[in-house]
């Protein structure tokens, strides 16, 4: 065992990389749930994004185009969910599960000829001047563009939801769709847009896994990341800022257990590998144990179908 071999600076730097896929997926799902829709298909959209991004990046040689392809793939898949739940008024829980099952199958079908290929590498961008700061520079300012993009996205979602008219409408639709409908807002249209946004974000998160974090394509490579993203939204009490905390907390646990595995700690590898899931459960329990807060923060129309019946 060699704990001294763990470099805290590298650990913190890789924490940001490990958190980014979940952060992207969770911030997308936050918007979806804010509009009153529970999409349990995050895992399916992530893995579809992972293979779409990978395939596009390999074929074009450009990771940037790959990420765009991933966002498009995730959004397209999420539109299937949108049509089913918003137009055909199907049960959201069941449809979300279907999306995950279908996404897992579809992605391994698409990915057959991409196993074992290396994707074009995504360049790290050292922010000028700032990256020269000792320690902090290496941790915070030497990452690829997607890490910064995910942070900007969190800030953007927070600001839009809190300060803009669009944000207010989305929240109104999520809190009380009947009232929003009576005010003349197009509930279904707004929800479809939010679902597509969530799908695009999940797709980006998946592509970050296959293009940067791993970087490789393997079947089922998301390994529950989508479900953890869902848990993080609950943990965050549906607030953008706390999604960031949740995702980085989870990323920290993942990176730490990987480092402990590498350092050869006496705990068996399997128990270290299950720790992120167990910790997510524990955090969920702590958050939901507080009755009043959990009930207040969830969007009131979450998971309910909307049908404008006169």
């Amino acid at each position: 065992m060699d704990l001294a071999g763990i470099n805290p600076v590298l650990l913190l730097a890789s924490l940001m990389v490990a958190s980014t896929p979940i952060l992207l997926a969770a911030i997308g799902e936050l918007v979806v749930e804010k509009s009153g829709v529970l999409n349990l298909g995050v895992e399916g959209m992530m893995i579809t994004g992972a293979i779409c991004g990978f395939a596009v990046a390999v074929n074009t040689g450009s990771p940037a185009v790959g990420f765009m392809g991933a966002a498009l793939g995730g959004a397209l898949l999420s539109l299937v969910f949108a049509v089913l739940t918003q137009v055909f008024l199907s049960n959201q829980v069941a449809t979300g599960l279907a999306l995950t099952l279908f996404g897992l199958g579809l992605s391994s079908l698409m990915g057959q000829s991409y196993v074992g290929i290396k994707p074009p590498s995504t360049p790290e961008i050292a922010v000028p001047i700032l990256s020269d700061i000792p320690v902090l520079g290496q941790i915070l300012f030497q990452h690829d563009l997607m890490v910064y993009f995910s942070l900007a996205l969190v800030a953007g979602v927070w600001a839009v939801l809190k300060y803009t008219r669009i944000g207010l409408i989305v929240r109104a639709v999520g809190e009380n769709h009947d009232a929003a409908h009576a005010l003349g807002y197009r509930v279904v249209l707004i929800r479809v847009a939010c679902i597509a946004f969530g799908g695009a974000c999940a797709g980006l998160g998946g592509a970050y896994l296959s293009l940067v974090r791993v970087p490789q394509w393997t079947e089922g490579m998301t390994a529950g990341a989508g479900w953890i993203a869902l848990a993080i939204v609950v943990f965050a009490s549906w607030r953008a800022g706390r999604v960031l905390i949740g995702a980085y907390l989870f990323g920290g646990v993942t990176v730490l257990q990987l480092n402990l595995q590498a350092a050869g700690v006496a705990i068996p590898v399997e128990y270290l590998s299950m720790s992120p899931y167990l910790i997510t459960i524990v955090v969920l329990v702590i958050m939901s144990a507080d009755r009043s807060r959990a009930a207040l923060s969830a969007p009131a129309s979450l998971g309910r179908s909307f049908h404008a019946s006169s």
Binding site: F88, F102, G105, E219, V234, E270, Y271
Partner: protein, 361 residues
């Protein structure tokens, strides 16, 4: 203009007609997918749905497989359907299935090489308890702390998979296996082996248990107060509360029952068709069972038929893989598609399409 109008009560005709319609639509969409993959769609559909049962060359091998594959699917789906009816979502059946196999198999292996009559019954009980205990985690967290049971049960699948890896490499590894991962093969341990009861039919104890579960679930839902409470909670939660239904008791019962049945399915699978506890003995039955439960419209008889149909797609899929080189993942996508179509056409049960302009009220 087309619009939807809610039916005063769900249509009985459509409730029966939607699953076959969904299967039909899936065949069309699946055929398109197979055509995109460069396979003859008609041949592919025939290979999946017809050849396993009626092609002289394959039927002898395939027909028994139907029960082997349908058994665990039906057993798990029956348990899940109870909860789904009441709005209690256990989607971690895969984890409970694994835990049933580990605990039940472990109890059996601990008694090796005993040949007592009590070995297999003890394993069955332990398997059920293993799955039950694993499902009790989300149940207790839900009733005590109001934690979302969907997320907890699902996350526990990944924990169970790691535990499975751990025991098949360590605790339960075959001591005579020369260091290879995986437990003793249950074929070498007759007292704990789940053999075919009638040779050549695929009928083993798991299939019998699945049939029994169908009957018990039918009686429970139609003739027992608990079944009434489950249906009431699903259809009118507010009315259920006024009627004095204890929601926590229902959660504990539904999650516990589905966990125990999934655990049993795991035990029967690992001692029979799978043969040993190994890292990847589980083949996703816990997730496919969700599709089976919905395809059967959460009705015991429906689930029986849906389980057989889904088993057919597994066997036919393997056959298509072998005969036409159709990728295994295509079948998985095909099964997912089936659930999509099912959910989409379900709108016909609860709503009716109206054509023409909306008249002012």
């Amino acid at each position: 203009m087309i619009r939807l109008e809610k039916r005063p009560e769900p249509s009985r005709i459509w409730a029966w007609a939607t699953p076959p319609l969904a299967v039909f639509l899936t065949m069309i969409a699946g055929g398109l997918m197979f055509a995109l993959l460069g396979k003859d769609p008609f041949e592919a559909i025939r290979t999946i749905f017809w050849d396993p049962l009626f092609n002289e060359q394959f039927a002898a091998f395939s027909r028994p497989q139907l029960l082997v594959k349908a058994g665990p699917l039906i057993l798990i789906a029956i348990g899940l359907s109870l909860g789904f009816r009441a709005g209690i979502w256990n989607i971690g059946a895969e984890g409970q299935y694994i835990m049933g196999a580990i605990v039940g198999g472990g109890v059996g292996l601990a008694m090796f090489p005993s040949d007592g009559w009590y070995v297999y019954p003890a394993m069955v009980i332990a398997g059920g308890l293993g799955g039950w205990a694993w499902a009790m985690i989300p149940a207790i967290l839900r009733t005590r702390f109001r934690t979302n049971e969907i997320l907890v049960s699902l996350l526990l699948v990944y924990v169970a998979e790691q535990l499975l890896a751990s025991v098949s490499l360590g605790l339960l590894r075959n001591p005579d296996g020369g260091g290879f991962p995986g437990s003793r093969n249950f074929e070498d341990f007759p007292a704990a082996d789940n053999q075919e009861i009638i040779a050549g039919t695929g009928l083993h104890w798991g299939v019998i248990t699945a049939f029994a579960a169908v009957i018990i679930a039918y009686i429970l839902l139609n003739r027992h107060i608990l079944g009434f409470q489950i249906r009431l909670t699903g259809e009118a939660p507010r009315a259920a509360r006024f009627a004095g239904v204890n929601p926590n008791r229902l959660i504990i019962f539904c999650l516990g029952a589905s966990g125990a049945l999934a655990g049993l399915a795991g035990l029967f699978e690992v001692t029979g068709p799978a043969g040993q506890i190994s890292i990847d003995f589980n083949s996703g039955y816990g997730f496919t069972a969700i599709i089976v439960a919905f395809l059967g419209r959460l009705h015991p008889i429906g689930i029986l038929l849906a389980g057989l149909l889904m088993a057919l797609t597994y066997i036919g899929g393997e056959l298509a893989q072998f005969m036409l080189g159709l990728p295994a993942a295509a079948i998985q996508a095909f099964q997912g598609m089936l659930l999509f179509f099912l959910l989409a056409v379900d709108v016909l049960t609860n709503y009716r399409f109206r054509f023409g302009r909306v008249e002012a009220a």
